[in-house]
Point group: C2
Chain length 137, copies 2
DNA sequence: GTAACTGCAAACGCTTTGCACTCCC
DNA sequence: GGGAGTGCAAAGCGTTTGCAGTTAC
């Protein structure tokens, strides 16, 4: 999503465009490891010394409301934020907790089969797959 | 799992059999809505007036360690405990938060296809499907 | 008898809330 | 200029921890 689209999305929903919001969105959008609020805060406070953790939380809630990311709670004490809103599998290492997204066409295909079998209209979904990553093997 | 199996499982892992542990396991095993620690505590304190919330938490951690249940964090502020360790889909109502398990042979079949495509050894998995339940429609 | 378990209460840590100041628009 | 947003600090709340008393074995 480029700047212009982002500006429009904020404004048409009645939200102002601020430096903090742009910085937080741009940071999370480039990350594939689903950082936590504090990780985002730590990463940004060098370039934006006055940014606060509270603002990070508020902004992440806003971005979720706008459909730009989803909150994911794993078996750890903090929430992770995933900017990938398409169907995918969260590959979670059982040992180190590292996470990355696995996307494949056949996952969508097979998921559609399951959906039509259940016979409901899906509003969203989440798949986690626990395994042992290469570093931990 | 009957009493004898449960006793054996506890003891062979070096844990004592206590009234509280039996009560908590038996309660959670009969429930299909994945109750929280506090819900379990509230439900049991009539029959076991001295039971404490701390013991419920400690026991649930123990049962998880023994592979009798799994912790599930959804987008709410408490942890739910799911005694169904087989492959299934958590059907979550987006409005009221009600949850039930959907189990079907074809879910397993399709999941096996995905696993072999990814080419890793799964240590566990979790599927959530968000929809609107009949009560909320 | 003794080591593990329970119950209680305090501590913990992430997240939310409240409010005065600031800055988009 | 005005209202939404930020930054700060305090509050909130589910969960964990510590410890003295109790119980399983």
């Amino acid at each position: 999503m480029d700047d212009q689209e982002l500006f429009t999305l904020f404004r048409k929903n009645g939200y102002k465009v601020t430096t903090q919001r742009l910085a937080i969105y741009k940071f999370i959008a480039t990350r594939e490891d689903h950082p936590s609020a504090d990780q985002i805060y730590q990463a940004l406070k060098n370039d934006y010394p006055t940014i606060s953790l509270g603002t990070v939380y508020k902004t992440l809630d806003l971005l979720e409301k706008l459909g730009l990311l989803q909150k994911l709670k794993f078996n750890e004490d903090r929430v992770r934020y995933d900017p990938d809103m398409e169907l995918h599998i969260n590959m979670v290492c059982s040992k180190c907790g590292q996470i990355y997204d696995y996307k494949a066409e056949n996952v969508k295909k097979l998921w559609n089969i399951i959906i039509s079998d259940i016979g409901i209209k899906p509003l969203g979904q989440r798949f986690d797959l626990y395994y042992e990553c290469d570093n931990c093997k």
